[in-house]
Symmetry: C2
Subunit: 364 residues, 2 copies
């Protein structure tokens, strides 16, 4: 593994492909942290295992587990899934596994962004985050790919979506948040995204999903289904704070053009009714930084947009909500060549994210 | 990775090849344990890194490092070496990495023997050994090879040598020691070796190197250089206890025939003068089981036979002894197609083994 400190993917002929392009595999991390996953993580591990199994029908899945959880992961996961030992602080492969880029010859490289737990000492979600921040390089070493060292720039994989044709989608709330790169202007950040993802157009949604503690990652509100087309998390309930947020995003998306000069086609994906955490669930969570991680009645950032595009499937969350079926139907219509697999994901949501957040594709 | 509980390599058409056959790679473990490696392992890590670098000129080297040592390993090792995180109790890849077998098509599988730290609670060298014992399966998972689960049988890789043509070489002192498989007879053990290594003849040397705390592993006293030819550690000093031991092995080797009915050609490889540990070295070792690991003046089991055969090189130890050059010359004569690389290995020897003990080839 070569650590590349000079040179950028765009300069070297690499680009980040769309998630809907072909993958050679997927990375996940086995959940364990007792202040993220209720009651010792037993339910979360079952849900993660279901997600891993569903993806493994399409592509090679590698699950990283701590030394303590390795045997358990091996026992819970089917044999076609590879389990490797790797330390982490939590289980968000999307946010700290490498962002992979690919060139014309099909060679891949990783990008090792800096990670500070979604806001560092300003508004980060846990401390320390040192093991998470080591994972991108470790994974590139494991996969024997070269890696761009861009740890000086804080970015999570869940805060970017690309169409593979020059367009990147982000949210202002996240990328401009003071806890990440306070010394960089919007233009500075665009410049880095252009050079590292090899895009020409950065589209800045104003916000994401209400109460999304990642400073509203784009991957919970809006995703490309193909170049020129996105899904947007939507509610018709005008009394819900989310209504104005989704509306603002819609108006932005209707106003802009992508890197190819196209107007975007926006498919509304309904949101489930607000999902709140129960007192019993909160009682199964350790404190974090001497404070309760969550409080009973707290709203969780549930959204069907947080799905993973595997080679032969869409793996999407369900919440036991009447909108589950409708959301599944819409995605099935948008991805006719893929089977939509819906997994009950409340136990992933409690941790603070969903299926897209716990996966990272390896293109090629 | 499939864990095979029924079926054996011989039954499935797999055999253990000779170390001199082609490798696809080599596994090592980064040393860290403070009761094995003096003064925090700094000198040992330098020596291990030299060995890894020398082998990496011939074949892909994967070095397993703990979470704590990962960054340091990555910094100390050249970029062509792959570093992966993996927990262990110590650094003896020969003894607890898988024994690999290969079939006619070039497919490989691992064998996961049981490991109990060279004698378990009877005369084992440390406690616990749980992480070491997990490594074979973990490595097969990492390498995406199937693995035979034979953990019910205690065996270390350093206690066997094969010629790849049906002959296995072991020592009685080790394989019949009461700390390993006390319920099994010599015939029972032969039967397991026949089925798992796919050999027909097991040659039982009476003993190994004096003071070798592995119960005298074969890989420190005798090794195949090709089918029908071995090197044997030898001293001409009749006052040395080792003289009688080497002599007994020589007489045995001159009396037996291999699986092909050949008499063995025995090449004597001189031993260095006895190497003893100093008081200063002992002062840099933590206690183990409330006892000093070593005592000043203790003789170490130094032997040039403990070399590794890489695709293009022989990586052998040196001890700063006048015999270093002669031993190198002999091995160069026996391996004319390979460059002999001699590495000063006192800091590996202090840990209780040498270059062969810290490496495990992946054939193919």
């Amino acid at each position: 593994m070569r650590q590349i400190k000079n040179g950028t993917p765009a300069g070297d002929g690499f680009r980040m492909p769309g998630e809907f392009e072909h993958h050679r595999g997927c990375i996940m991390i086995f959940p364990e942290r007792p202040d993220s996953w209720q009651y010792g993580g037993y339910a979360a591990r079952k849900a993660f295992a279901q997600v891993a199994e569903a993806i493994s029908r399409s592509e090679k899945v590698t699950v990283c587990a701590s030394g303590a959880q390795y045997d358990n992961a091996r026992a819970m996961l089917p044999e076609q899934i590879r389990v490797v030992e790797m330390s982490s602080n939590d289980a968000w492969a999307r946010d700290y596994a490498p962002t992979f880029v690919i060139n014309e010859k099909g060679e891949i490289r990783g990008i090792d962004w800096g990670f500070n737990a979604w806001g560092g000492l300003y508004d980060g979600l846990y401390f320390p985050w040192d093991q998470d921040n080591r994972m991108a390089r470790k994974l590139c070493d494991l996969l024997e790919t070269d890696v761009y060292d861009k740890r000086e720039f804080i970015l999570e994989g869940g805060s970017i979506h690309v169409d593979g044709e020059g367009t990147c989608l982000v949210t202002e709330t996240c990328l401009l948040s003071p806890g990440r790169n306070p010394g960089l202007s919007r233009e500075d950040i665009e410049e880095i995204l252009r050079k590292y993802l090899n895009v020409s157009t950065v589209l800045w949604l104003p916000c994401g999903i209400y109460k999304d503690e990642t400073n509203e990652h784009v991957d919970n509100i809006c995703a490309f289904v193909k170049p020129g087309e996105v899904v947007l998390a939507w509610t018709e309930d005008q009394d819900d704070v989310q209504y104005g947020m989704s509306r603002a995003c819609l108006e932005y998306l209707e106003r802009v053009t992508d890197a190819k000069g196209r107007r975007l086609k926006v498919h509304k994906l309904p949101l489930p009714k607000p999902v709140v955490i129960t007192g019993e669930e909160c009682a199964g969570l350790d404190n974090c930084w001497d404070e309760p991680t969550r409080t009973p009645g707290e709203r969780l950032a549930a959204s069907y947009v947080n799905f993973y595009i595997a080679n032969k499937a869409i793996v999407m969350p369900g919440f036991g909500d009447p909108a589950d079926a409708r959301a599944k139907e819409i995605l099935q219509g948008l991805f006719p060549g893929r089977e939509v697999i819906q997994i009950y994901a409340r136990d992933i949501l409690i941790g603070g994210g969903n299926i897209h957040c716990i996966t990272q594709q390896i293109p090629g």
